[in-house]
Point group: C2
Chain length 483, copies 2
């Protein structure tokens, strides 16, 4: 009886938050957790372990960390290490310098002064070097916590609960689920533009325009989100496409929001990451003085792959500085990023140079990360494109592949009978029978009538290789069974 | 011209977020930052430095960190340290154990499995020991990021945008501004109950009931927030009061939300922290089986005072577990706490024992923190209670004092003419003329016609002592000038 009186129950929960729970990928993650628990309890399954082939968390999958970065972090955490001779001299010098910059010389403080001063200056310097010398003011740089949270915070600023029309946000399909979650969380309307699978997931400006026009019938579109390199597509945008996107956003008065989290991880032959900031500024006035652009980078998705540090930064062009910094100052308690994430960005925005003792190891580790991803991307494309019924576009960057699978009519019927998306149904069967966890295309957005899987490049080569073969094998028997 | 077309401008920003900007304390913080910048540029002022006497950030003010904790964090960040002999043996053992528990043995991963497994078990064990052996299930423990953010997330779950009546949340006045911000941010209605200044800021259950009845006329009250030890009052609740609060919450079907962030920092003579969890469970059924309770602890406000790690935890009683864990699993990208915050909680929930090499230093550092706070609390009370027109209640815990100041009629008139709260006006004059930054009572909530200041115990003793004398001196000349 008592429970009927309760305030906080599954039945009473905020409907707009509850809606996020239905997410297919989330359901699979919960199920994988259940199965792991059962395996640990000794329950018999047709497999011994759950193999996570969907998470982009490189270090969870065993990838090594960046030694220089970890040494600087350790020294800033426990400065007595500086006197021990256990760390390279350039690391000690760097850590001493950062400690002097920290509020109270400690990672234990909120470090807002560090964030606004030395860190923002150092990130601005990094952006200038990255973008061919185009000047960047530290006042246009804002270190933040998790990028997806910062995106949600910024989208929230653009909402207006009182307005008749809700705020629309254009998102790529396929795209990262967390962007759609952010839009839902702040009460916006998601407007999807399809990436062109036939042209290696290229962004088609006409298609964005179509989605925009359609959206204007039901909301007020204010934001165009672009993800480059693409998640889950692995596509890297060309300068030509980016210029088209900029022209469209300017013409249609949209804020351009560039999710460039995976900017470090570009390895496709002939591919190169160009930032929207650079392409916009190189277009010159009037566009460079008018289009509003906010671009995001992340420690989780960068070369160091430090998901656990929960930090990133964004930079703004033609956006009122007081608007962003004012907002962050106000809600300090909630939005101040973790200090060690700030320290890591300070260290990485000014990496070791050829004259530094740490340089060689730093450069080798960096190359090893990119080489391993490139190798796993080629392997993934190779295995999938040899399997009848599966087709995988080239993966040029980021850490995912997004192969398309054909599903026979009977599989579609069975899924429909269960009220499930067909590719979710496939992923569920795959998980139950092989223990392999991959993401269903329906969680990322895809053209109607097409079905996909998202796989990660994070598992070690051997694990991935085994898993890829197991997935294709399972796929062919699944097709046979359901034909 | 172009700027009129922009999507993201000061004029267009989400009104419910913009409303948070007006916060008096925030305005003072912005002004203090301005003054610092001007001093650095060589602008002449009647003082050389801005002295921050309002922030509770102990380490920013120079307090030392906990050596054991920092050693464990450094070793987990850069495990090669474990072989060097630079760290005590128990630290190495602990770090090795935690590294084994981490996902991929790394602080670089999201560490959700670590969070749900070993960390939750270890925190549950800590709660059992803290609460006299009352059993605690790891499933009822949820590590989180910044406590204020977790509170906002939970409040958000209780909102319902579709409902006719908004959700009401009872908050103490005075209370931490961040709670009111959290309520505003999720679109709730703040209902204030006054703490009783005449009885050392005691919580009066009848007054809560009054605020509740009044609130029912304009919203649907669902949550009763209690802050213990109090911020900014420093008051520690008695078991009797806590039982009264529990009975009221149960009778009125309110979720009890206990902000126990400062639980470690209790130093008033004869004072002892009791958790609401303990008092509720010791009351036994039916209350112990029905009242819904969520309690919060924080690394920032604990003995280690690690604001920069951005982590804490909450525990639930009589709340559906799937509700909370389900929510957190879903929004992983946004809500996963930083790994080093998790590691710190793992280390501190199982601190060194008398047999460990680190024990002595750990215990001494702990005592030093409490002794320093107690000394600064006595100093603050002493100085203020000797100043005519100022009265300060005993500070029993946390890191703030909240003295009341009488303001002469002319000061009130001048403030009114400027459209300012009188104590904000005082704080502004104090900052401009002495460089000392203290918080205005109006930012925390206070009885109408009363005026207060919030001062922190964080500055070093000498700095605080000088500042206290400067504030009382300025106060007496301010009163004279405005009489």
């Amino acid at each position: 009886m008592a429970s009927l009186d309760r305030v906080c129950t599954l039945r009473s929960v905020n409907p707009s938050i509850w809606a996020l729970r239905g997410h297919s990928l989330g359901v699979l993650l919960d199920r994988a957790r259940d199965i792991r628990r059962k395996l640990a309890q000794g329950v018999e399954k047709p497999f011994q372990v759950v193999t996570d082939c969907q998470a982009g968390d490189l270090q969870a999958a065993g990838s090594p960390s960046c030694t220089f970065l970890r040494q600087v972090l350790a020294a800033c955490t426990y400065p007595e290490l500086l006197g021990t001779g256990e760390l390279p001299t350039d690391v000690c010098q760097r850590a001493r310098c950062i400690l002097q910059e920290l509020d109270g010389s400690s990672i234990g403080s909120y470090n807002l002064t560090f964030l606004e001063g030395p860190l923002s200056r150092s990130v601005a310097g990094f952006l200038e070097r990255r973008d061919g010398g185009l000047p960047c003011s530290p006042l246009d740089v804002m270190p933040c916590g998790p990028t997806c949270k910062a995106i949600a915070d910024i989208l929230n600023m653009l909402m207006d609960g009182e307005a008749l029309l809700k705020t629309g946000v254009l998102l790529p399909a396929p795209g990262p689920p967390v962007l759609a979650e952010a839009v839902a969380l702040v009460g916006g309307v998601e407007l999807r533009y399809q990436l062109d699978e036939e042209r290696s997931w290229a962004l088609d400006v006409d298609e964005v325009e179509r989605a925009l026009k359609e959206g204007r019938a039901r909301c007020r579109p204010k934001v165009l989100c672009v993800v480059n390199p693409g998640n889950p597509t692995g596509q890297v945008l060309s300068r030509e496409t980016m210029e088209g996107v900029i022209l469209l956003a300017a013409r249609e008065r949209l804020l351009l929001l560039a999710d460039e989290a995976y900017q470090d991880l570009v390895f496709g032959p002939g591919c190169r990451f160009l930032s929207f900031r650079r392409v916009l500024l190189e277009l010159g006035p009037p566009l460079a003085h008018s289009l509003q652009l906010i671009s995001f980078a992340s420690l989780s998705s960068g070369l160091a792959a430090e998901c656990g540090l929960r930090a990133g930064f964004f930079d703004i062009v033609n956006v009122d500085r007081t608007l962003l910094s004012g907002l962050y100052n106000q809600l300090t308690g909630m939005s101040v990023p973790p200090s060690l994430g700030l320290v890591a960005q300070r260290a990485l925005s000014d990496p070791p140079g050829p004259q530094d003792p740490s340089y060689l190891r730093f450069a080798q580790e960096k190359q090893a990360v990119l080489r391993a991803l490139a190798e796993k991307a080629r392997l993934t494309e190779g295995v999938f494109n040899q399997a009848p019924g599966i087709r995988c576009n080239p993966v040029q960057g980021a850490v995912y592949s997004f192969p398309r699978i054909s599903l026979p009519a009977r599989a579609l019927e069975r899924a429909q009978a269960l009220g499930l998306d067909p590719d979710f149904f496939f992923c569920q069967c795959l998980l139950e029978e092989t223990g392999i966890l991959v993401g269903p295309g329906c969680s990322f957005g895809q053209a109607p009538g097409t079905y996909h899987l998202r796989l990660s490049l994070a598992p070690p080569l051997k694990t991935l290789s085994r898993a890829l073969r197991a997935v294709t094998l399972f796929y062919s028997s699944f097709v046979e069974e359901n034909s």
